[in-house]
């Protein structure tokens, strides 16, 4: 065999491999885009964001609401989802978007660019991204490998899509999942240890570039579509609240989103039995929280105190004491 022959064979091999992968990615994307994204009639509220919202809002208990939040979801993907679902569901008028104490901490850009999250998120969300959004991944080798793996990862969906129509539930990229796991004790112990050893890293709120950019884009998208974007901070355990740099968090909101609807439910007093860990509600906590949300929504979102009480509820509590 000559060197020329070897190089030619290698070239044909790589070319065939590339073509096969491009074609299979294209077919997968096309099947995903054919999915019917319409929500049940009457749905007017979409819930997006990360695991805190994913586990906190039980959309089966609250009418006209669909929860498509997913653990570890970067604002890039929330934005992409919002864009497509707004288009498919013109009746949507409200977006609840997770905005917790860590949302814009600089470490959160790993949700967008780290190999770990590319591996878990890209196969399920890549079809939602347009060319500008996809450019984020240009310089990341993991993205190319993950894309090539996507037809294999989504094989179950492809088989279903080829046989018949698919809807948003077949996309498996978010939705309420109530958990009965009990990790609160362990989590509190770890936090106490970190506090003792002084290993808790001071957060840098607002330093996550991708998160900041796509949060802003989501808010702008909502404005352009006549959708009210409500930033939502779900209940967390008092220990987690004490350990967070809430000063920087509230200062950021004041500076960047002074007029943005913001529901800060982090200080709502929930017993330990409602928490899966210090920052996530469990199924029992989600039922309680969602029921409360629906009650407040039906009353037109009255002003609440830090503990989540309306003025009447606060007065009743004082009287009872």
């Amino acid at each position: 065999m000559s060197v020329g022959r070897l190089v030619l064979n290698a070239f044909y091999f790589c070319l065939l491999l590339l073509v096969f992968n491009l074609v299979s990615i294209a077919i997968t994307r096309s099947l995903l885009l054919r999915t019917d994204l319409t929500f049940p009639t009457g749905t007017n509220t979409l819930v997006l964001g990360d695991s805190q919202v994913e586990w906190a809002v039980n959309d089966s208990l609250i009418p006209r609401t669909v929860n498509l939040a997913q653990g570890g979801e970067a604002y890039l993907y929330s934005y992409a989802k919002a864009k497509h679902f707004f288009e498919a569901n013109p009746d949507l008028d409200t977006l609840w978007l997770s905005f917790n104490y860590m949302a814009l901490d600089h470490v959160q850009d790993t949700l967008t660019r780290s190999d770990r999250y590319i591996k878990f998120k890209l196969p399920f969300n890549f079809f939602l991204l347009d060319a500008t959004d996809a450019c984020i991944f240009l310089g990341l080798p993991k993205a190319y490998i993950t894309l090539a793996q996507t037809p294999f990862i989504r094989w179950g969906f492809i088989r279903k899509a080829v046989r018949g129509p698919t809807n948003y539930k077949d996309l498996n990229f978010g939705g309420y999942s109530g958990t009965t796991e009990q990790k609160l004790k362990k989590d509190l112990s770890v936090r106490a240890n970190e506090q003792k050893l002084g290993t808790t890293r001071p957060p840098e709120f607002g330093a996550a570039r991708d998160q900041v950019e796509y949060l802003q884009r989501t808010i702008d998208l909502c404005r352009a579509n006549g959708v009210t974007c409500i930033l939502l901070n779900t209940p967390v355990h008092p220990v987690a609240q004490k350990g967070s740099d809430t000063t920087a968090y509230y200062a950021y909101i004041q500076q960047h989103f002074p007029d943005q609807p913001f529901f800060d439910h982090s200080s709502w007093q929930f017993p330990d039995s409602c928490f899966r860990d210090a920052v996530h509600l469990n199924a029992h906590g989600a039922t309680r929280y969602t029921t409360r949300l629906e009650k407040l929504r039906s009353k037109g979102w009255p002003t609440l105190d830090r503990q989540g009480r309306t003025p009447e509820e606060r007065d009743n509590a004082v009287q009872q004491q």
Partner: protein, 484 residues
């Protein structure tokens, strides 16, 4: 940097292009490039110990040169043993210090004495078992005048650091490697083509089979109480398949990558799953380690004890396999592993079996029934023994075997199989075993000599394997033998 990563692919391509197309065609430039690339490779894998490895290599290089300047006698012997102590000392410190400290603490505790709260947490440099043995072997060969010491420091460092083998072997002999890099390498398209095919075969074994088996076996070994007897038995039998595919896969990739640079490394696996007896097995499993142990432990020991006849042979075998066991690491499971291997050798050593160890020279498509039975017996025996390398402790291993018995459906009401294996994985394992059985006389599974396979079919095979590797990549684990 893992062999099955995008970063390694880019690294390899760049180094390959530089090696054959950019640097001047002299061994000095080629070796300098390989050394630089190897240093980068090791630094990216384990930067904190790069200086240690460099220092150790330079010390061994200087020591070997010093040894040959000394006449035979006490001084030379002293320097030699100093060198051996230095290399073994490093290995013992990094690999076994934690174990000894913990064992001592446990001993003190059992005697009711406080250990003073002394805790050691020594980090293990990647590849230390492999490169230490390589340098030890080099020193021993120089001392026994089997080879001349390498005067050229660049060549020696290239030999030590050569990136395809630095992290997990094969344990390369200086007399095999150095002559290849003392002359300029010439681009051999046939060798490169063979190297690429060997890499592909290695990736198939490692990524498509070993990595997929990993989570299954981890789940069962992690909680045997929760699984049926069939599942536990399956996991125990499949662990040797996993470790074989992982390690032989890695070795094939290493050998294949070396061929891309015109260098041949020693074959490390010769289809040991088809071994018919214990001697046959160890002639085929991790060949570079076994042959090192034979040359530098078994042969000298059996020579010293040769007047003791069969008893001497048994002692030499026992010590050798004790060393093989603890080479894997600092855990009682490895000690027991080594002891069991030497027990398996005893009938062969003392009985009529000695000298009758079969050579796998038959090329028949199907094995004779007797041979097939012996192969199956060996496979089962070694599966149960190799499971020790996976169990974290002797207690854990005992728990696994106990669960295998207790969780029998009739006793426990549990299903025989509580966690079925994916059908495509079973298919890949069968394909690997069939291909390797047919190809058992060849270096790896994708050697087409004497097979009348059309070029188009061969190409299709490469594409299918490559696509499977792409699809399954990154879903699984690191190389098992990195931990050793």
């Amino acid at each position: 940097m893992l062999f099955n990563s995008g970063e390694f692919l880019i690294f390899l391509t760049v180094v390959w292009v530089l090696h054959w197309w950019i640097v001047p065609r002299s061994e000095r430039w080629q070796n300098a490039l390989l050394l630089a690339a190897s240093l980068v490779f090791y630094a990216l894998s384990d930067l904190q110990f790069l200086a240690l490895l460099l220092a150790s290599s330079l010390i061994n290089h200087a020591l070997a040169l010093h040894l040959v300047r000394l006449p035979e006698g006490r001084a030379r012997s002293t320097w030699f043993w100093l060198g051996v102590s230095f290399n073994l000392g490093l290995l013992i410190y990094f690999k076994y210090a934690n174990f000894f400290v913990e064992a001592m603490a446990q001993m003190f505790a059992s005697m009711g004495l406080a250990s003073g709260g002394f805790v050691l947490a020594v980090l293990l440099p990647l590849g230390i078992s492999f490169y230490t043995f390589q340098m030890l072997g080099y020193l021993i060969n120089v001392q026994h005048e089997e080879i001349d010491p390498c005067k050229n420091r660049l060549n020696f460092l290239t030999y030590v650091f050569f990136f395809p083998k630095i992290l997990a072997g094969p344990i390369e002999r200086a007399q095999h490697f150095l002559p290849q890099i003392e002359v300029p390498r010439v681009l051999d398209p046939e060798l490169i083509s063979d190297g690429l095919r060997q890499i592909l075969w290695g990736l198939f074994a490692k990524v498509v089979i070993a990595d997929e088996l990993g989570p299954y076996i981890d789940t069962v070994f992690g909680a045997p109480d929760a699984h049926g007897s069939g599942t536990i038995l399956g996991a125990v039998m499949l662990y040797i398949v996993q470790i074989y595919c992982d390690f032989s896969g890695y070795s094939n990739i290493a050998l294949g990558v070396a061929k891309l640079f015109g260098i041949r490394l020693v074959i490390n696996f010769a289809y040991p799953l088809f071994a018919v007896d214990i001697s046959d097995f160890w002639r085929k499993w991790h060949v570079s380690l076994t042959s090192w142990m034979i040359d530098h432990v078994f042969t000298p020991l059996s020579f010293i004890l040769r007047d003791m006849g069969k008893r001497g042979l048994v002692i030499a075998i026992s010590v050798t396999f004790f060393c093989v066991g603890i080479w894997h690491g600092a855990n009682w499971t490895y000690v027991v592993f080594g002891i069991l291997q030497s027990i398996y050798f005893i009938p062969l050593a003392v009985g009529a079996g000695i000298g009758r160890a079969s050579v796998n020279s038959s090329t028949a498509l199907l094995p004779a029934p007797g041979r097939a039975l012996r192969m199956l017996g060996m496979f089962v025996l070694m599966s149960f023994t190799f499971a020790l390398l996976r169990a974290g402790s002797l207690g854990s291993m005992a728990n696994i075997y106990q669960s295998m018995v207790i969780n029998f459906p009739l006793n426990s009401g549990k299903q025989w199989s509580t966690m079925p294996l994916a059908r495509d994985l079973i298919l890949y394992i069968i394909v690997l075993l069939c291909v390797e059985w047919i190809q058992r006389g060849k270096e790896h599974g994708l050697v087409w000599e004497r097979l009348r396979v059309p070029k188009l079919v061969r190409f299709a095979v490469y594409l299918v394997i490559a696509q499977l590797v792409i699809w399954k990549s990154g879903m699984g684990n690191n190389f098992i033998y990195f931990q050793f």
